[in-house]
Symmetry: C2
DNA sequence: ATTTTTTATTAGCCAAATCAAATTTATTTA
DNA sequence: TAAATAAATTTGATTTGGCTAATAAAAAAT
């Protein structure tokens, strides 16, 4: 059974909300994420329930079944592999990949997916540092912390970003912050929690608390 | 203005029929090609006419406008570049590429298209020997002839095939016939026009007249 | 324990792209 | 030229995935 793009997008949204471990995956949350009217969500959730891709009830919200989980994970896997491909092989920058990957993730071809994966050497993380699920849906984990929690004086490495929007990624580029780059925390401003950092041993810049919460790093 | 897959497919079909220089591109021909009901074609042709992508009238049939031509050609270009990519970079065989390329041709991203083209070295022909339109819609031409018109004794090179169906392409594989391969015409059977050929200086096989009309060759 | 607020659902509607069946218009052919 | 055939169109329906506005139900606050 091959699903529509819309169905795959709903499953992906439910998967993402599950990952963020919300107590309850409700109608509104899905609507917000997909920029869709809650009334439409009701209909689709019912349809997905009928197709046994989710279990849905008004009280309990939506939960992926084993089958739905498989579809969702595969879609995410495709999205992230395509993003990696675009950056690694086609000279895309990390802020250019999202929209194209949103389209490419719906292409149906197992061989295509396998070959892209092979060509890339079975990558575990995408250009934003997000883990690429393996074929069983297993995710590689890195025990990272938001930059906002790093004490003064510590030198850390960027491993992922918590916001893949063009605006944020371009901002990071401008600051010289990139995946695997080094950041030295020089000074935390008490009054607003903004931080002064040294990027790659060179430039010194101020980062807002907001930004520092979206940059994940390890020692 | 970005068009739906359906719209792009209609334009592509009209383009293809134009290439085959039919006197008149009628409803039925489009319906046959897209496996769609003629009643549906009427509606869509009207819509495309309204959008100034074609000029359509009951008497005159359908003709691409400059704008419609651009869209059609770009779609064909995408299709053939993707086919080439799949074969050259992802280990697909020429009989595996069509269905995937039918999906990929609708991905909207100029950068993606340009980068794939660059990665492949700006190829002029796809894995079936069909020309890849350049950005202006210009096609490279090879003055080939169907194998059915080659006289006994001639040694020729395969440059394209006139049927991209899985069945036909697999049949050619089985016979050892591939793009750029050499064929020596040994004997033309008078009664049914089937031909005995020598493939790549080795194997001898019989080809039906039917098949020989779909294999295009040059001296 | 009510009232208020938030969330979900219903009802009715729309657009895109298709279909089948009936009808109209064109084209052949007798 | 009239009848027969072929092609195109109309009509009315369907499916998919949306929408808005009104209502119902649940949760939170008073």
């Amino acid at each position: 059974m091959t699903l529509s793009n819309a169905e795959e997008n709903y499953l992906k949204a439910i998967y993402a909300l599950t990952q963020e471990n919300r107590e309850r995956i409700n109608n509104q949350a899905i609507a917000d994420r997909l920029l869709i009217n809650p009334a439409s969500v009701t209909d689709m959730l019912r349809k997905l329930d009928e197709k046994k891709l989710i279990e849905y009830s008004r009280s309990g919200g939506a939960h992926l079944t084993k089958e739905g989980f498989k579809v969702a994970v595969k879609t995410v896997r495709k999205h992230r592999l395509w993003e990696t491909f675009l950056v690694e092989k086609l000279n895309f920058t990390w802020d250019e990949v999202h929209d194209v990957a949103e389209q490419l993730e719906h292409i149906q071809s197992d061989k295509l997916l396998d070959e892209i994966d092979k060509l890339l050497g079975h990558p575990k993380f995408d250009p934003h540092g997000d883990p690429i699920p393996d074929t069983n849906g297993k995710l590689s984990r890195i025990n990272s912390s938001p930059l906002s929690e790093i004490p003064e004086g510590a030198r850390v490495k960027v491993v992922s970003v918590g916001d893949n929007s063009t605006a944020f990624l371009r901002y990071l580029d401008k600051q010289g912050i990139s995946l695997n780059g080094t950041i030295l925390v020089k000074e935390i401003q008490e009054f607003d929690q903004s931080i002064l950092v040294e990027i790659k041993g060179k430039k010194e810049v101020f980062l807002s608390a907001e930004a520092s919460r979206k940059i994940f790093v390890i020692k």
